[in-house]
Amino acid sequence: MSKEKFTLLESTCVPLPFENIDTDQIIPARFLSATSREGFGENLFRDWRYDKSGNKNMEFVMNNPLFGGKILIAGKNFGSGSSREHAVWAIYDYGFRAVVSSFFADIFRNNALNNGLLPVVVPEKFLDKLMDLVSNDPSQKVSIDLENQVISIIPGGDSVQFEINPHKKECLLKGLDDIDYLLSRKDQIIAFETAKTAKDED
């Protein structure tokens, strides 16, 4: 099944200058009881966005009307903890299309790539600079060029290359789906099973 393609993203950013943001913060467990993929954006960072009585915490950046955009910038080790894909669904549903950090937890990164959300790994120095720039100027824009694997501070600012698995890059650029890919390999999978059974019975 085809998905939204990711090619070039140019947007303002939302800065989250905290390290080790875990998936329990991104979407608390009490909101995981839904059985569809939609609607999780409403509860993204729920306990940081709202206080105990359900009032908006105006100190939190996502409640500051000056900040917005499709790029989330976060401190290192983003997405640690639980494997819940709901964290990625929530970030995507809220409107983000890329997350920039110096370091991502493995399962979160896989989940993001499987849902068209691009995790961009940048050097710590670049991340610090970016965090400072966007925190001080909410109108600061950033461009992410997936084809050329470059993230740039625009206009005319620094840019760095980022790494991405070539297979995953292809999937994102073309809006392809790994399940379709695996389904197209059914014959090889069956052949593998047959050979393995024979070997195990040796």
Partner: protein, 467 residues
């Protein structure tokens, strides 16, 4: 032949095909599912109009959402009930074996897999749950996946996965009195931090690991993800074989000897190269406790929280913010700090040995009046065993109650929530903000530390209570 690590042997023998410049197509021997991370995957199959490819290789249980009291009555929370009902329907419609609520084999997915004999050496095992690493204790390559990947496994029995790096963590020496498997893994994480093993699959080795029981090894492997590791595993040995041999899942006349020969080859060859090697001295480990809001923020129970001067300048603001959430200050000692709740259970410490350890300390003593305790077995089988061993009676006499199995307060998806601002000593795996309920303050620890807190009402050194 080039020497190989155990991880390489298992991984490589399950690669159907390597995608050019991409991940491997990895064949999965055993898939576990539960109610929270599977419904969207089944929706995907329905949308595509395809069946489950190998239904006999998936096993389902309901664990995350379920109450730990009155399990014979309908689940009160409507969303939870709906999610469990959907799993029941999905298993029925797609022909998957299901140990639902009240089934004698029901329990936490990572507790029932091993105890029912589904988890075996040399296997690849996945589940939409990060603590799938638990099964690595049996010498299996086991790791957590997301829901899109659950759908891949249901549809094709395979996932696309880049091969992680290899790390070996050796713990040698001998553990002191009152030091458990939980303290070993909490110590390792405190030394290398919560992202210290990201990108790696860890093999645990050394005399301390070999001396651990199978339950203890599961506790160690369980928390591999808390240092970012893709998974953790331990080479099978006689202890592993004896554990498996006693399980009812091997039918009479089963060719045990042939299996043993195969399993004996499941170890890293001498000279096999790891991308990273770490060594720890087990005799330095003391009973552990966490003081912050990630599992890397741990210390010996009789230590003090680091002073602000010991923290890197750029990390100081977030360090203070985390301590503020916990209501702690830099340099503070935690021994004697009041405790409101004690939770014993979860896929980390909800097995029979954990209940035995807890009972060993509370036996003949009384629960402290101000403490609310939740003692939750990891499975129906653990519950049954605890009753047959009389642990149930010991707990009752000391003022505790054994509840019914489930994930419970570990992630508080059911009613078992810790109220805002309250301190909970918890034998679980994560002390994240709000993990056990909004505003809850979690202190991770072993069942022995939990027992000492439960009878004194404050953080106490369990070594003082071991007879």
């Amino acid at each position: 032949m080039e020497p190989k690590t155990l991880f390489d042997k298992i991984w490589d023998s399950h690669v159907v095909q390597s995608v050019e410049k991409g991940p491997d197509i990895l064949y999965i021997d055993q898939h576990f599912i539960h109610e929270v991370t599977s419904p969207q995957a089944f929706n995907g199959l329905r949308k595509r109009g395809i069946p489950v490819f190998r239904p006999e290789r998936t096993l389902a249980t309901a664990d995350h959402n379920i109450p730990t009291k009155d399990q014979d009555k309908p689940i009160r929370n409507e969303l939870s009930r709906n999610q469990v009902d959907r799993l029941t329907e999905n298993c029925r419609d797609f022909g998957i074996e299901y140990f639902g609520l009240n089934h004698p084999s029901n329990g936490i997915v990572h507790v029932i897999g091993p105890e029912l004999g589904y988890t075996r050496p040399g296997m690849t095992i996945v589940c939409g749950d990060s603590h799938t690493s638990t099964h690595g204790a049996f010498g299996a390559v086991a790791f957590g996946i997301g829901t899109s990947e659950v759908e891949m496994v249901l549809a094709t029995q395979c996932i696309l996965q880049p091969k992680p790096g290899k790390m070996r963590i050796s713990v040698n020496g001998k553990l002191g009195k009152g030091v458990t498997a939980k303290d070993v893994i909490m110590y390792i994480i405190s030394q290398i931090s919560t992202g210290g093993a990201t990108g790696y699959f860890v093999e645990y080795a050394g005399s301390v690991i070999r001396d651990l029981s199978m339950e203890g090894r599961m506790t160690v492997c369980n928390m591999s993800i808390e240092m970012g590791a893709r998974g953790g595993l331990i080479a099978p040995d006689n202890k592993t074989m004896n554990y498996l041999k006693d399980l009812p899942s091997f039918p009479l006349g089963f060719d045990w000897e042939a299996l043993l020969t195969q399993w004996n080859s499941f170890k890293s060859d001498p000279g096999a190269v790891f991308d990273r090697e770490l060594q720890f001295d087990g005799s330095l480990i003391r009973p552990m406790i966490t003081y912050g809001t990630n599992p890397g923020m741990g210390m010996a129970i009789d230590d003090s929280i680091p002073e602000i001067g010991d923290i890197k300048a750029e990390d100081a603001p977030s360090f203070l913010k985390l301590l503020d959430y916990m209501g702690f200050k830099p340099g503070m000692k935690l021994l004697g700090h009041p405790v409101d709740y004690v939770f014993v259970g979860s896929c980390t410490n909800g097995r029979i040995e954990d209940l035995r350890e807890f009972a060993r300390i509370v036996k003949g003593r009384k629960k402290a009046p101000g403490v609310t305790a939740l003692i939750v077995p990891g499975s129906k089988a653990v519950e049954k065993q605890a009753i047959s061993e009389g642990i149930n009676n010991i707990l009752q006499k000391a003022g505790f109650e054994l509840r019914q199995p489930g994930c419970s307060s570990c992630l508080a998806m059911n009613e078992d929530k810790i109220p805002p601002g309250k301190y909970a000593v918890s034998t679980t795996n994560r002390n994240f903000e709000g993990r056990q309920g909004p505003g809850s303050r979690t202190l991770l620890a072993s069942p022995l530390v939990a027992a000492a807190a439960a009878i004194t009402g404050k953080l106490s050194d369990p070594r003082e209570f071991i007879r």
